[in-house]
């Protein structure tokens, strides 16, 4: 896909999103209410309209072929870049999904093993050291010091003895 095509697709998608936001804002009054001033929907409604007009402006420039992006026939994401950035993005999504199932202390070591060992190609030694040290430091910094309880999914019962020790 060329940058030029991506430009049009993005503007169209954002245009549709702006229309959705306008509809959503319209659930609240957008006009003037006597004694109360502008209705609650007015601010987001008119700003969503500006969003929509900006998207139309981008599309207008696209048709006229104005600007470096609208005229660029370069590849939007090169295949090898897509593989790498895609792998990182998907591993992030999987990690977040795992937060609610096997908890942060199950998901983070897996993410680190994937990234350091398979994307980075570092030794198993270094990988396992990082996969242990980082989650442990996170536990002590966030949960013990900052008292921010991180998501643990189904592994929650395993932490009850630890809570008893530190709180």
């Amino acid at each position: 896909m060329s940058v030029r095509t991506a430009e049009l697709l993005m503007a169209m998608m954002m245009g549709v999103f702006s229309i959705y936001l306008m509809f959503k804002s319209y659930e609240l009054p957008v006009g003037w209410i006597e004694g109360e001033g502008p209705g609650g929907g007015a601010w987001p409604f008119w700003l969503s309209l500006v969003m929509l007009l900006s998207c139309l402006g981008i599309i207008f420039n696209w048709i006229r072929k104005v600007g470096p992006i609208a005229t660029s026939d370069k590849v939007y994401v090169r295949a090898d870049v897509l593989t790498e950035v895609g792998a990182v993005a998907i591993s992030l999504i999987v990690t977040v999904a795992l937060f609610s199932i096997i908890g942060i202390y199950g998901a983070l070591p897996l993410f680190l093993i994937f990234y350091v060992r398979f994307l980075g190609g570092h030794s198993w030694m270094l990988t396992s050291a990082l996969a242990i040290i980082i989650p442990v430091s996170i536990f002590f910094f966030f949960e013990v010091t900052l008292k921010i309880i991180l998501p643990k999914g189904y592994t929650e019962p395993l932490f009850i003895p630890l809570y008893k020790m530190f709180f």
Binding site: V3, A6, E7, M10, M14, L21, K24, S25, L28, E36, G37, P38, G40, G41, W43, P44, L47, S48, V50, M51, L53, S54, C55, G57, I58, N61, G67, P68, I69, Y76, V77, R78, D80, V81, E84, V85, V88, A89, L92, V96, F99, S100, F111, L112, Y115, V116, L119, G120, G121, H122, L130, I134, I138, F141, F142, T145, L146, I148, L150, P151
Partner: protein, 506 residues
């Protein structure tokens, strides 16, 4: 004047509390490190680390973050010179002459020049700041809702007029930020508003940190993964020899560049005050002017020392400059200060001129900490240059997952809701895709911070005037601010008209 000095002295007593002093030193060191890492700048560091500051009181938190901001301005130069890759966008201009110097085996000269110029730039701007801020805050005390709204409009208008990005994309970025900030509840009627796709997670609104970490954490890292890939994953690290004798000789040579350092400091400071400008354009402008006033402009681009000094002085001065409108008016002068401002709201401080009256200790503690941060940054920087060069050798594939993890936890910590973590990942990926199409990101972050302040200001003004927009133009202060905002807004159109006219008469 005397009063200011007294308040500043009080500020120093805050700074010299052991905990705050430690936070400054840690912040400077961390900032230099963040600045030196290619792909990460002050804004990324401040966004990712803000959730960690809930541990300390607000004064300590902002002192720590300001020290990171400051340190990052120093650190950016290190990778610009050693790797030829700007460590942060603010250090782009430093590569022009810093890299050639390093290639000629004079990396230490460039690094010393960058550190000293940063120090002078920081010092001059902090002094300017100390004496500009109180009178400005005093004037701003009479500001009401119309003035506040006019100022915020001016902040956004500067992006349209001076941002240099595509007009429509800038407008889009501003308005999407403002609309996203309206999600949750309507503050006046109390009704739920914009609960997107009826997902209840949106009822508590979209925290600005979610957008900021999404864009400046996850999006930026994805961008860096790509850059890394395109660059072949290899970079050339120059060697630097640091000896006392060479350093003294370098310092003597630096004396000859005082003119460009002083010029860069003043220019950077005043450019930094403008919301759309800030440290990156400030340092580029300083580079351009340094070349014009130089006796041997032909040396620029081939290792001119002034070419390192001017932009480095300017970017430090600009970072101080951008704090001026943040503290006195509640209008951030840069994306980084936008995040600091958002932090102030979280810590329960209401931004605006009342800060100087109601939270004098906080304000003066911060100002005094800038003096201290400036001093510590230059000391840490000069003393540990070899250490920072070693750190630059850390493979990206080890650093990247650690930063991603910090982002994920940073997104979870403020509200402790998985909904926000998901939203942040989505913002990151969409932000990355949009950035590839040159959508500017800074206006959106500024907008989501200012949105919750701008909307009530507009609505209150319209209630006072019974719906007439003339209220913005008829008041003493809001009138001129509004006119300035409109000039900036229509600047792109004026430019087009001017070019057309010239063509007709040419």
């Amino acid at each position: 004047m005397l009063e200011t000095l007294g308040l500043l002295a009080n500020g120093f007593t805050v700074v010299f509390e052991p905990q705050n002093l430690m936070l400054i030193i840690a912040g400077c060191a961390l900032g230099i490190f963040i600045g030196a890492m290619p792909g990460l700048g002050s804004v990324n560091g401040v966004a990712i680390l803000l959730p960690l500051t809930f541990l300390v009181p607000p004064t300590g938190a902002i002192i720590f973050l300001a020290a990171i901001y400051y340190g990052a301005m120093y650190g950016g130069a290190i990778s610009s010179i050693m790797l030829g890759i700007p460590g942060a966008s603010t250090a782009v201009a430093t590569t022009f002459d810093g890299r050639p110097l390093a290639k000629q085996g004079m990396a230490d000269k460039a690094l010393t020049a960058a550190a000293v110029a940063s120090f002078v730039g920081g010092s001059i701007s902090v002094v300017l700041f100390t004496f500009f801020a109180p009178p400005l805050a005093h004037v701003a005390l009479v500001f009401g809702a119309p003035e506040e709204f006019a100022l915020m409009l001016l902040a956004f208008a500067t992006f349209v007029g001076l941002g240099g990005d595509d007009l429509f994309k800038t407008l889009f970025s501003i308005s999407i930020g403002l609309v996203l900030s309206a999600v949750g509840f309507d503050i006046i009627s109390g009704e739920p508003r914009l609960v997107l796709w009826d997902i209840t997670g949106f009822l508590h609104g979209i925290n600005f940190l979610i957008l900021a970490i999404g864009i400046y954490g996850i999006g930026e890292m994805l961008w860096t993964v790509e850059e890394h890939r395109l660059g072949g994953g290899k970079s050339m690290l120059s060697d630097a020899t640091v000896t006392v004798k060479r350093t003294l000789a370098n310092l003597r040579e630096l004396m000859t560049t005082w003119k460009s350092i002083v010029m860069g400091s003043f220019l950077g400071y005043f450019v930094g005050i403008l919301p759309a400008a800030g440290a990156t354009p400030g340092s580029l402008m300083a580079y351009g002017i340094a070349k014009q006033i130089s006796k041997n402009p032909e040396k620029f681009g081939h290792g001119a020392l002034e070419g390192v000094c001017a932009p480095e002085a300017a970017n430090n001065a600009a970072s101080t400059g951008s704090m001026l409108p943040m503290l006195t008016l509640g209008i951030p002068g840069s994306p980084t200060t936008a995040i600091l401002l958002g932090g102030m709201v979280i810590w329960g401080l209401e931004p605006g001129p009342r800060l100087f009256v109601d939270h004098s200790e906080f304000v003066w503690g911060l100002i005094a900490s800038l003096y201290a941060a400036n001093l510590f940054s230059v000391l840490i920087n000069v003393a540990f240059i070899p250490v920072f060069i070693r750190i630059l050798k850390t493979p990206f594939t080890i650093l990247a997952p650690i930063i991603f993890i910090l982002c994920l936890i940073g997104g979870y910590a403020p509200t402790q809701s998985m909904h926000d973590v998901w939203l942040m990942v989505i913002f990151g990926i969409v932000g990355y895709l949009m950035r590839k199409l040159d959508y500017p990101m800074a206006p959106a972050v500024l907008a989501i911070v200012l949105g919750p302040l701008a909307e009530p200001a507009l609505r209150q003004s319209l209630i006072i005037s019974d719906g007439s927009f003339s209220i913005f133009f008829t008041r003493t202060y809001s009138g001129p601010i509004m006119v300035a905002a409109l000039i900036f807004l229509f600047l792109p159109l004026i430019k087009i008209g001017y070019v057309k006219l010239r063509k007709q008469f040419a």
